[in-house]
């Protein structure tokens, strides 16, 4: 009893389908009822093997346990309708498979002699789905909305966090000390947008990957949540909202008025809400066409690895270069002692955990923060000597710290940040590995995410020992190493590390030197054991074989295919083949 067909079509459309069958698909009925979808807006440049445009439907699973309030990055980054987000606008720039910055809604960009004022030229003819032209004023209005203290944007930290790369006057504006008009974002004319930064920051164009926009007109008329209703929603992206029932179903269809760089091949994307534990089963039952790796359990991977079709359609990639690690409060005993931290770093059997608990399809052992492949990462295993599994050495360090054979070492409680079963198993295994090697007691407590972050962020921190992961926000070492500086979220200080990261972040002109400085900084991080690095995650997505597109089927220069982080052009590239 397969219910797929009827499951997907609902209401009067289903009725029509049957009536069409009955009357032999006369155009009369479609003309009467189906006027909106009679002209199909999708199907741009479909390859030969593609299914007809009306069958270009991608069904994606959505997590019904997430807290989601908006489609728009500019409204709330961490509470977006994750499975369908960012389709109603284009950002200024996009990334290619090798993470090079490529034009998106900006056609070109340049920086002035001071290195602080960037000019972005918008593509001509861009417009919103209601026909309103898209101008630089929309971008200006979006940034001003996001920075406005009353919007309480959850991403405001970012432009303060990147220091020199921050938008001019950002911190003052979000604090309410300056009006939003003082922001270093200016619409010079309809097609020219100026971005002024606090200092010199070469990676800025890449940061404009986050320049998602809102419609100035809709924002003023209906407020920031205008996209949460098909009536008021306007789109300057390849798709537009047609059905909105979050927690149940969200449907978007190709935007007929789209003039941007990634016109849709798909006719429709359906987001179907379900419990994350059931994504894979739904995939197997043919209810959805793709599953992201976070929702695949170890049991699912076992099934995938033993099935050639599934295995060939699980496409593994760097994702956001996420690293799982243990962190300490290095300001108080026992972790203020470098010997104790070193003991932990050497007691962790990374290879065994990756091989048996993660599964090699999901991770590689980590000896440092930056995943090989990320700029300035340790690709030659030079840092392996500082953080690797060597139990006798670990025991010696612990003895040197005054706890021979673990005697007298206080029992520890290691906190997790609301982890699911798979990651919870990994961190439990990590704790067990350390505890068994050093003969100490470590309990693992899986905390609610907010409780965890509250304790971690407190100054002084209330988190003695914890496990967590971090993935990049943008592709520059200043991001993933920047979180380790003493003003960041970790309770670890190394003055040399701080000054090196600060200096390298703002260095212009000498890319080689800049990279070497980051490499040296990372060496300090692993040697002084700011954290114990467990593994870098391989991310990936499972696709149905009939879901195709060069954007994720053709490998990058490292030979890695898959839906790469930040590759928003994917949404204009993915299509359904007639093999379905």
């Amino acid at each position: 009893m397969k219910l797929n067909e009827s499951k997907r079509t609902s209401g009067w459309r289903r009725f029509l389908k049957y009536s069409k069958k009955i009357v032999g698909g006369t155009t009369l009925l479609s003309a009467l009822f189906l006027t909106p979808s009679a002209v199909l807006a999708g199907g741009h440049g479909l390859p030969k093997d593609a299914a007809p445009t009306d069958q270009q439907v991608l069904r994606v699973p959505c997590d019904n346990t997430r807290n989601e309030v908006t489609f728009d990055f500019a409204v709330a980054v961490y509470q977006r309708y994750e499975c369908i987000a960012d389709l109603f606008q284009d950002t200024l720039v996009d990334l290619d498979k090798d993470f090079n910055v490529i034009p998106a809604s900006a056609e070109s960009w340049s920086v002035d002699a001071s290195g602080k004022v960037w000019t972005f030229k918008l593509r001509k003819g861009l417009q919103w789905s209601d026909g309103t032209p898209l101008t630089a004023a929309d971008y200006e209005a979006t940034f001003r909305y996001s920075a406005d203290p009353s919007s309480a944007w959850d991403f405001t930290w970012f432009y303060s966090f990147i220091g020199a790369g921050g938008i001019k006057n950002w911190s003052e504006v979000i604090a309410g000390e300056m009006p939003t008009s003082a922001l270093g974002i200016r619409a010079v004319d309809d097609l020219t947008l100026e971005v002024e930064t606090e200092g010199v920051f070469p990676p800025l164009p890449g940061v404009m990957k986050f320049a998602f926009l809102l419609s100035k007109k809709a924002l003023e008329a209906h407020g920031p949540y205008y996209n949460n209703d098909p009536e008021t929603s306007v789109s300057a992206g390849p798709y537009m909202l047609t059905e909105f029932d979050p927690g149940n179903r969200i449907v978007v269809e190709a935007n007929p008025n789209y003039k941007g760089y990634r016109p849709a091949r798909l006719q429709r994307i359906e987001g179907i809400y379900m419990s994350p534990a059931t994504f894979f089963t739904a995939f197997q039952q043919g209810e959805v066409d793709t599953v992201p790796y976070e929702r695949l359990t170890p049991a699912d991977f076992k099934v995938i690895e033993s099935d050639p079709v599934l295995k060939n359609n699980y496409l593994r990639h760097f994702g956001d270069f996420r690293t799982d690690y243990l962190l300490f409060d290095t300001y108080t005993a026992p972790f203020n002692d470098l010997n104790v931290r070193k003991a932990f770093a050497y007691a962790l059997d990374r290879d065994a955990i990756v091989k048996n608990v993660y599964g090699e399809i999901k991770a590689m052992p980590a000896h440092s923060m930056l995943m090989p492949g990320y700029p300035a990462s340790d690709t030659k295993d030079e840092l392996k000597q500082y953080q690797t599994f060597d139990c006798p050495k670990a025991k010696k360090h612990l003895a040197d710290a005054g706890y021979p054979d673990g005697k007298g070492f206080p029992a520890q409680e290691m906190w997790l940040r609301g982890e699911g079963p798979a990651m919870s198993a990994v961190y439990q295994a990590s704790a067990a590995s350390i505890a068994q090697c050093l003969n100490i007691k470590i309990e693992v407590s899986n905390k609610d995410g907010k409780v965890y972050m509250d304790a971690l962020n407190a100054k002084p921190t209330q988190l003695t020992l914890g496990a967590v992961s971090y993935g990049m926000d943008f592709l520059d070492p200043s991001n993933l190493l920047g979180i380790w500086v003493s003003s960041g979220r970790h309770s670890w200080t190394n003055d040399k590390f701080d000054s090196m990261v600060a200096e390298a972040s703002n260095l212009v002109g000498d890319d080689k030197k800049r990279e070497q400085m980051f490499r040296d900084a990372q060496k300090i991080l692993v040697d002084d054991v700011g954290g114990v690095f467990i593994a870098h995650r391989w991310q990936g997505d499972l696709f149905k074989p009939y879901v195709q597109g060069d954007s994720f089927r053709v490998p990058d220069s490292n030979g890695i295919s898959g839906k790469h982080w930040g590759n928003d052009w994917y949404w204009g590239n993915v299509y359904i083949t007639n093999a379905k």
């Binding site: 009893m1 009827s6 930290w157 907010k450």
Partner: protein, 321 residues
């Protein structure tokens, strides 16, 4: 009677007030708030802005008074999780689903439960009676999340007969979007425990009544079995059944966190979990108040039902229900 009911309603109001104070102070003492600090600490200005947006910059007692002054006018605020709607709308929407689940479950549980109980009682000590006793013990003892999981594994995954989850979205329904194939598993998983309880209650009370003198007398008088059962046994067995109803119904119509999260049903129970995780204060408050209110009202209705089926019971005679 009327005075008694008014008194009970007044007491209920006081209870709701107490519940609101306790829940409000408890939920505000949980760390975190409706902001996200996953990446690190928010700049103080940004955090202050968020707190101000939700009115959390004021002292807790002031927030409470503020909340309650709106709540008495049935304005329960805006849920942080769904800023484009109101708590009242979100609750009525999700509760409607929970009630559908609950009512269907009640019908199934009480229908089959009473049937099994009566049958077992009538055929006391037969193998069917033993079976009913055993199965109902099992039904009470196996947690419903466990039952749910096995039902999914068998009927959705292995046999592929029924959808794994959802509510009214399978496309195969008896009436419009009601009584669909995806109703079956959640209702069965949910109904097993109350069904077992009802069967046990029914059996026990009928067995007891059948042993009473007046039933024996009726039998001796030559009344037909059906008539004895209908006129004497069922009538008197109603009271314990109402007791069972009274305690099970509030449970069933306020939803099960386990059933709703396992079968991806967007009911009240699911929202309680997400509200707690996201510190959605308006939703947490509203959920607690609604559930407490329903319990109070249903207890009252149960007591009224007692007087209707058993004239010996006088309301107000017991000081504690």
């Amino acid at each position: 009677m009327l005075g008694y009911i008014c008194g009970r309603i007044l007491a209920l109001m006081m209870i709701l007030l107490a519940v609101s104070v306790i829940v409000f102070s408890l939920m505000h003492s949980v760390p975190g708030g409706p902001f996200d600090e996953r990446k690190g600490r928010l700049p103080p200005a940004a955090k202050a802005n968020i707190l101000k947006k939700y009115g959390l910059d004021q002292p807790v007692w002031k927030q409470y008074i503020n909340y309650m002054s709106h709540a008495v006018r049935f304005d329960f605020g805006i849920p942080y999780q769904r800023p484009h709607t109101t708590v009242a709308k979100l609750i009525s929407k999700s509760w409607a689903i929970t009630v559908q689940v609950g009512l269907t479950t009640i019908v199934v549980a009480f229908g089959f439960g009473i049937l099994a109980g009566v049958y077992a009682a009538y055929h006391q000590n037969s193998w069917i009676d033993t079976l009913v006793t055993f199965v109902s013990s099992l039904g009470v003892t196996v947690p419903n999340f466990v039952v749910a999981m096995w039902l999914i594994l068998v009927f959705a995954v292995s046999l592929d007969w029924l959808p794994m989850g959802g509510w009214g979205s399978s496309g195969q329904c008896l009436i419009d979007k009601y009584f669909c194939t995806d109703w079956i598993l959640p209702v069965v998983a949910y109904a097993i425990a109350p069904m077992a309880i009802v069967a046990r209650y029914t059996r026990a009370s009928i067995v007891e009544v059948m042993g009473e003198d007046y039933v024996r007398t009726a039998r001796a008088k030559g009344l037909s079995e059906v008539k004895v059962m209908r006129k004497h046994v069922f009538r008197n067995a109603q009271i314990p059944m109402v007791t069972a109803l009274g305690t099970e119904i509030p449970n069933l119509i306020t939803g099960s966190i386990f059933i709703e999260s396992t079968f991806r049903i967007n009911g009240l129970g699911k929202y309680f979990v997400t509200s707690t995780l996201n510190r959605d204060y308006p939703m947490i408050m509203a959920t607690f108040l609604l559930v407490a209110f329903l319990w109070g009202i249903l207890y009252l209705l149960t007591d009224i039902a007692y007087t209707m089926i058993d004239p010996r019971v006088r309301l107000g005679a017991k000081s504690l229900s």
